[in-house]
Amino acid sequence: MKTTQPPRTVHRPATGRSPALDLRSLQKTHGKGRQAVTALHGIDHAIPSGSFTAVMGPSGSGKSTLLHCAAGLERPTSGSVTLAGQELSGLSERQLTLLRRDRIGFVFQDFHLVPALSVAANVALPLRLAGRRPDPHRLEELLSNVGLLDKRNRRPAELSGGQQQRAALARALVTHPEVVFADEPTGALDRASGRDVLKLLRDAVDDLGTTVVMVTHDPQAAAWADEVLVLADGRLVDRLTGPDVSAETIAARMAALGV
């Protein structure tokens, strides 16, 4: 997917704020014995609250594993993950589930909306799962922000890919999460739809103060972030901030890695 270059003025400095996500000596090994593969080799990094971070790297570099460990979907082999002041390693599976429900939002490449539910019901789902009644005004506002108010009663199969992804983004934001994790959110979209989704993610950071961590292969998409982390072979090999966060620079760095 190719998106147009985002406006440079929206970038904020990615330092000087309390970390929303703190990764310390994060290591993850899949499998055991001879079949063991180390996906992450001791990652140390803090992501400030209210920032937009893109994670890039070649296939197999550990991007998705980093995202899964940071979101409490996978347990690291060693090291620690602290999300909004909460250390994840000591939490049970149920506590992790509740943490994801209340404090984390997810956006996937394949949208993963529930096909049986309408757009509005899909967006309200995390609140319903928590036993809370969604505020109709809040729901309306959210659907309006993502441009789906007139499609609130449609089912996912009746929407385009871009519309489905915007519905998924509204679902991710409905609980006012501290961190939104997005795994290739524009990977299955055309240029215009991808740009809409990236703008909404950017707005969530700028207007709502949400922290966004996005895995992407696309330098154009990564250019919407405040900070770009580059992974290779499970190691953090580069970090771009400020004026370096442009599609050209990112593409050049990735090319240097042989991607």
Binding site: R94, R100, R101, G105, L113, L129
Partner: protein
């Protein structure tokens, strides 16, 4: 979770169509049986007739209930597998395993309550004609009259709902333990052929089979030997059903060998598909095993009991496995008049056995046919995207249908092989306990009927794969790919 249950049921009712049909039929059957028993109970002063009716109808209800439970578990497992990615997404955004389990059990409860109410209504309506038929055929003594029965209706609704809820609970046991990320990876290859719970369940069933066989072994007489064989076979079928994933790979390799030799592309693909999806093939072969195994052992049991009944000096008791009898269990040096009387009684018993067998076989065969077709239809339909990919990469419809044909051969052969093994073990056990050496037992078996059962199951298996396959392949592959 009520809104999620309602939303899912509204849009995916077709997934539950098979469960609904089995539930309606089970409820109708249980209600009919309980109503008949209730009516017999009302006129029976001493309980002899009631016991006789209870013995037969209990066996019909038990066998059919077990079959219904296995079929609903099988269908629910496929429904849960089909929603694997949705379950993964819901767990990722914060649904707990308990919430998701309640959702699926709630769906099963809603479907089964609707189906059970309708089925029990049908059962009440059918109880009168059933009672008349049973009396006319001499299975029940004259006396009971038809009429409504509250216990019958209640038993129908409660038993069937219970069966469906327990089946849904059992089917959701494994999938909820998978991590959300693993569930999201649709294409993830099955890593473990046998989950620990399934292996433990199989061992428990084999242990129970041994215990039941041992228990019946301490009692003498052909009646107990046949009863023991039935119990052994039922438990072995359950054990084999759980062990099926282990059998799939070697049997699939064998059964697709002709395919690999005759049509290299489709045969090789069928072999690879069957070997890579052992649990799916096991789920498809399960109803074949149940149908073939139960039908075969009932036919063999009936045939052996008929033959042993016609030898009054050898057999002293009528087997109650396939039909009740009130005949005295004595055979002390009969006079010619007594011999004629015994012969007449034996003839009556044979007639009743035949009626009893028909009562047993009808629901069993119907359930099994529905189970086989429904399971295969669900399993084949969910592979639409795989078929679309193969079509887009150049496979012709004919090649894919041939591939499905070889795959259905693997499914039918897996189910039939397991059924053959179970029935052979059970009959070997029976031969060891009857005063008949195994060579004498073999001619007593109804080979023609057994061949019909095997052919029927194989034909249902083939149709169950090919019909949905033809329907899916009629759609243009690009449309299928977009729809997913």
């Amino acid at each position: 979770m009520f809104f999620l249950v309602l939303g899912t049921l509204r849009t995916r009712l077709w997934q539950y169509a098979g469960v609904l049909v089995v539930v309606v039929m089970s409820a109708a059957l249980v209600t009919t049986l309980t109503t008949v028993l209730d009516r017999v109970h009302r006129v029976s002063a001493e309980g002899g007739a009631e016991n006789a009716a209870g013995s037969l109808l209990g066996l019909v209800g038990g066998t059919s209930g077990l079959t219904a439970w296995l079929l609903v578990v099988n269908t629910m497992s496929l429904v849960v597998q089909q929603r694997r990615r949705e379950i993964g997404a819901l767990r990722t955004i914060g649904a707990t395993s308990r919430q998701l389990r309640l959702e699926i059990v709630g769906e099963a409860l809603a479907i089964s309550l609707a189906g059970a109410a309708a089925g029990s209504g049908l059962g009440l309506a059918a109880a009168g004609p059933a009672l008349t038929w049973l009396i006319r055929n001499g299975v029940l003594e004259p006396g009971p009259t038809s009429g409504l029965s509250l216990p019958g209706f209640t038993a129908g609704v409660l038993c069937t709902t219970g069966i469906a809820v327990l089946a849904a609970w059992a089917a959701t046991n494994g999938p909820m333990r998978i991590s959300p990320i693993a569930a999201l990876r649709e294409s993830e290859v099955e890593r473990r052929t046998m989950p620990t719970g399934r292996a433990v369940g199989a061992l428990v069933m084999l242990g129970l089979a041994w215990a039941a066989w041992d228990w019946y072994g301490r009692r003498s007489g052909p009646h107990e030997a046949i009863n023991g064989t039935m119990a052994l076979c039922l438990l072995l079928i359950l054990g084999a059903w759980l062990l099926l994933p282990l059998l799939v790979r070697p049997i699939a390799a064998l059964s697709t060998l002709p395919g690999r030799l005759l049509s290299r592309y489709s045969g090789t693909l069928a072999a690879a598909n069957s070997a890579a999806a052992t649990r799916r093939v096991a789920a498809m072969a399960g109803p074949v095993l149940i149908a073939a195994g139960l039908s075969a052992i009932l036919l063999c049991g009936n045939s052996v009991s008929r033959q042993t009944d016609s030898r009054p000096t050898v057999v002293s008791a009528s087997p109650q496995t396939t039909a009740p009898t009130t005949a005295p269990e004595k055979a002390n040096k009969p006079t010619p008049a007594e011999t004629r009387q015994q012969q007449a009684q034996a003839d009556t018993r044979q007639e009743r056995n035949a009626v009893g067998l028909r009562i047993l076989m009808l629901p069993l065969i119907t359930f099994s046919a529905i189970g086989i077709l429904n399971t295969l239809l669900l399993a084949t339909r969910r592979r639409r995207q795989e078929f679309a990919t193969l079509r887009l990469t150049g496979s012709t419809r004919g090649q894919l249908l041939r591939m499905l044909g070889w795959e259905s051969a693997a499914v039918a052969l897996t189910g039939l092989s397991a059924a053959t093994a179970v029935v052979t073990i059970s009959l070997a056990g029976l031969a060891s306990r009857l005063p008949l050496p195994p060579p004498d037992l073999l001619p007593l078996l109804p080979w023609g009927q057994l061949a019909q059962v095997a052919l029927g199951c194989a034909a249902l298996g083939l149709l169950g794969v090919l019909i949905p396959g033809v329907l899916v392949l009629r759609v243009h592959p690009s449309q299928v790919a977009r729809a997913e």
